[in-house]
């Protein structure tokens, strides 16, 4: 319940969005209103092809809403400049750069590549088991290590809000579980606010502190479900609890009802 007292970082107010092509208009979001509160891990779950990723692009300022508005109560600037980190589905580590230079790419772009900031990135790499691979090519890393490097690339900019767009979907199931665990833990340790988009119910529940269940297109919010787990539990541990099963059933029913 504590989360409700925290100020919100992002507020969506009746946001509508559609994609346009010569074949016509595809409405994607219809009247979306919600807010992301500081310190929470918000999971958005919904069928593939619903506008989940679009919501992230809207938060990041890569897209503009057609109607409605998006507020950042704490900040004057909006969009990617407003210290939002965005982690994409695939890691997109560039093969022509070493791991360290990949991780500092954002610093380079924002002209913040100071000794101090690079050192911070190195510390993150050391902390999360990549210290031996700083000068390696990305192809020498395993799938899970690549994803961790991609997260550190995002964290190197020290964002207040992290957007995660199905960041585990390109991994095989086993790696996916352990990387999900890793990344969930890293985000909690670094005390970041995060919004995760996924079509994997179990992932949404095990990582999140709150779940928004989204309908199919044109997307609206089916239900807003705060999760009440022991905050010390890791995502993997949560998967083995009775609560987890309950939440799973509840969300499953909501999604089923939407389908029919």
């Amino acid at each position: 319940m504590e989360a409700f007292l925290c100020p919100s970082l992002v507020q969506f107010q009746e946001v509508n969005f559609a994609y346009h092509s010569m074949d016509g208009e595809t409405p994607v979001l219809s009247n979306i209103s919600f807010s992301v509160r500081e310190g929470e891990f918000l999971s958005m779950v919904g069928p593939s092809g619903c506008g989940k990723s679009t919501i992230l692009s809207l938060i990041a300022g890569l897209l503009e809403p057609e109607t409605g508005s998006i507020f950042f109560p704490k900040q004057e600037k909006t969009g990617v400049q407003a210290n939002i980190g965005y982690m994409l589905q695939r890691d997109h580590l560039f093969e022509w750069r070493s791991v360290l230079r990949n991780v500092t790419l954002g610093l380079e772009i924002r002209k913040q590549k100071t000794k101090e900031n690079v050192r911070k990135a190195e510390v993150l790499l050391e902390k999360y088991g990549l210290e031996k691979f700083m000068d390696a090519k990305p192809s020498q890393l395993s799938g899970g290590m690549r994803q961790r490097a991609a997260l550190i690339r995002t964290l190197a900019l020290n964002p207040e809000l992290l957007l995660l767009d199905e960041p585990f979907s390109a991994l095989d199931y086993q790696t996916r579980l352990s990387v999900g665990d890793d990344i969930g833990t890293i985000i909690r340790k670094e005390k970041k606010t995060a919004v995760l988009v996924t079509h994997d119910l179990a992932e949404a529940i095990s990582l999140g502190t709150r779940v928004l269940v989204m309908s199919k297109r044109p997307t609206h919010i089916l239900c807003d479900l705060p999760l009440d787990f022991d905050p010390e539990m890791t995502p993997l541990e949560k998967r083995n609890t009775g609560q987890f099963q309950q939440y799973f059933q509840q969300i499953w029913k909501e999604l089923k009802r939407d389908e029919t």
């Binding site: 994409l88 022509w96 772009i109």
Partner: protein, 265 residues
């Protein structure tokens, strides 16, 4: 199955591959010498007309003579210099134009059909026009060399630029980058391998263009040597020109191949 035998299977495999590799090189050398030997023999025994076909020994003597009075080096130097100049220009102009087209999609759409036409137009058809416009000099020759390579370079590079993964471009924007960062951090570095293979093609095309140019508008260079030789019916000069051109083509290609290896490392 003992472990030793598995090892020796691997060793046998390696040995077989090595032998195969050596045999290939051997046959390359043997076939070259066989070709030269048959050519020499048939021209000496008048099976073929030595006046028209010349012979390896005569070409060798011609090369030595021309090396002695320095004329060979002058011709080679001229052709090589013109080729390298038009190669460099074709790459620089090609890259700049492709970048400009990438920056303005509308400009690219407007210009595309013209590029396609210019690319498939036989550039030798332009040469006589260029002589009138620019004069029978090095300028014309270099422009012919450039024109042969530059349009393909623009088209290929521009296509390469567009094939860069859209998600990689999105990554730059998510990190707070602008269009110029997309260009410098993703588009250019990811098309470097393509640029190298374009260079491989262009070095050959530039040489072709320069020789065509020298046919028409030169009084030095290997192209001139070949045309001159055929006009005065000194076929050994023509053959010498061709042989030296072969060597230059091989040399230039190797230079780019070395460059490619260095980049991919």
């Amino acid at each position: 199955m003992k472990r030793n035998s598995a090892l020796s299977v691997q060793q046998q495999y390696v040995r077989r591959q090595k032998i195969r590799h050596r045999l290939i090189i051997l046959f390359r050398v043997v076939s070259l010498f066989a070709f030269l030997g048959i050519w020499e023999w048939t021209s000496r025994t008048d099976v073929i007309n030595a006046f028209i076909f010349s012979s390896p020994s005569e070409i060798g003597r011609c090369i030595l003579d021309m090396a002695k009075d320095q004329t060979l080096f002058r011709h080679v130097g001229i052709t090589l210099g013109e080729t390298l100049l038009s190669f460099t220009l074709s790459i620089v102009i090609g890259v700049l134009a492709a970048v400009l087209l990438w920056i303005s999609k509308s400009a690219a759409k407007i210009i595309e059909p013209y590029l396609v036409v210019l690319n498939s137009l036989p550039k030798s058809a332009l040469a006589p026009l260029l002589i009138v416009w620019l004069g029978a000099n090095v300028r014309t020759i270099v422009v012919v060399g450039v024109s042969l390579a530059v349009f393909g370079t623009i088209l290929n590079l521009y296509t390469g630029f567009q094939e860069v993964d859209a998600e990689q471009i999105k990554l730059i924007y998510t990190l707070g980058g602008k269009k110029r960062h997309v260009l410098s951090k993703v588009i250019v570095p990811s098309t470097v391998p393509m640029l190298v293979s374009i260079m491989k093609v262009n070095i050959g095309l530039s040489l072709v263009g320069v020789v065509i140019g020298e046919f028409l508008a030169a009084d030095e260079g290997l192209g001139y040597l070949i045309i001159y030789g055929s006009q005065v019916f000194q076929l050994r000069l023509v053959m010498t020109g061709i042989i030296v051109l072969c060597m230059i083509a091989l040399l230039l290609y190797q230079v780019i191949a070395v460059l490619e290896k260095r980049i991919s490392r």
